[in-house]
Symmetry: C2
Subunit: 212 residues, 2 copies
């Protein structure tokens, strides 16, 4: 079982704030995600700036693309993104179109998707999914439970590289012990910490302690 990656989600409202955080912790994390909020606020230059700072790090454009897969994918690749996300309710033609343009396409799992749909994504050559606790669901009192862990395991069993995200902390990582999680994604778990460098380091060390 490989050691899971640590991915930081930059969901800032301004590029300045995003840069300020990623400047501190960029070398600690494995993958940098230019979050949807940041993409919508700053456009192309958000991805371009992060790529300029980290020429060889994996950068994800979290576009949650729902349509026009070719155009959206070509645009983010042109800015320097390696991977991008599509929403689970995008049609298969949209996913196929996007997949051809990027190194890896990740399906974002929100709402009422099914394992049948997941199988159809695998059939068109998609290797990665992102299992979510939505921020708004968390704010409404939701949390990681048995049901979530079971679904993550089912996705792994289908052959997906599974990223998990939503309200993760150093403490909740151990819930996934023994599971072949590909990547843990956190935003505020690092950026809202009193000491982001310490927080990122603790995430990395805890992952290594459990899976190393």
């Amino acid at each position: 079982m490989a050691v899971p990656n640590l991915q930081i989600a930059l969901d800032h409202n301004t590029l300045e704030d995003a840069i300020s955080d990623i400047f501190k912790v960029g070398e600690i994390v494995d993958i940098v995600e230019v979050g949807t909020i940041l993409c919508l606020q700053e456009g192309q230059k958000a991805i371009k700036a992060i790529r300029a700072m980290f020429p060889s790090k994996i950068i994800i454009a979290d576009t949650k693309c729902a349509d026009a897969g070719t155009t959206v994918a070509k645009n983010v690749v042109e800015c320097g993104a390696d991977w991008m996300t599509v929403i689970c309710s995008a049609t298969l033609p949209t996913m196929e179109a996007a997949r051809k343009e990027v190194k890896e396409l990740q399906v974002e799992l929100y709402g009422d998707w099914t394992m049948e749909q997941a199988k159809s994504w695998k059939e068109i050559g998609i290797n990665q999914v992102i299992y979510h606790q939505s921020r708004d669901a968390l704010l409404s009192g939701g949390s990681w439970g048995e049901k979530d862990l079971k679904m993550v395991q089912q996705l792994i069993d289908l052959g997906f590289q599974v990223s998990v995200t939503g309200g993760l902390s150093v403490e909740t990582l151990s819930l996934f012990k023994g599971m072949d999680v590909h990547t843990f994604i956190t935003g505020r778990g690092i950026t809202a910490a009193e000491d982001p460098v310490k927080a990122a380091t603790e995430f990395k060390e805890t992952i290594r302690a459990i899976w190393g």
Copy 2:
């Protein structure tokens, strides 16, 4: 039955191209949509620029928001958007959060949504949905058919103001004759026309001829 609105979708890759088109036809159309591609490419300034050009026109930010409803909605309202879109696979808490911030929230219907879900959106006070033929589905040979028209009518019967979009032309408008469609959305139907002003005028006149 009210006369349906005509909405232009600005799905350009650059603000310059979008402005060039909307400058010509902005006064003819009823609603201006800052498309997802344009939002992702140019960020905030796309909405701000369109608002600056048309101080009193309805402007929609087509964010297809899937999470962080409050933040995304607040951000687009700050730029001058009146309405915004969420994706159908967003959770109800995300939709509720976004709905509180904007004048109207529109649910974008992609993939395998159900009428049961539509009822739950109505119950939390959402009045508008957008029925889609996705661009990629159209490229794969899909088109408007009996099934689409029936679903649009079902949504109208549920009490939604329904916008329809995807490969619409002056000729296909008559397919919806007798239906209480709220808005027809077209992008390339106007922007890719040899004469965009003539195309927009023809759309408006045809709508008026059928529903007036």
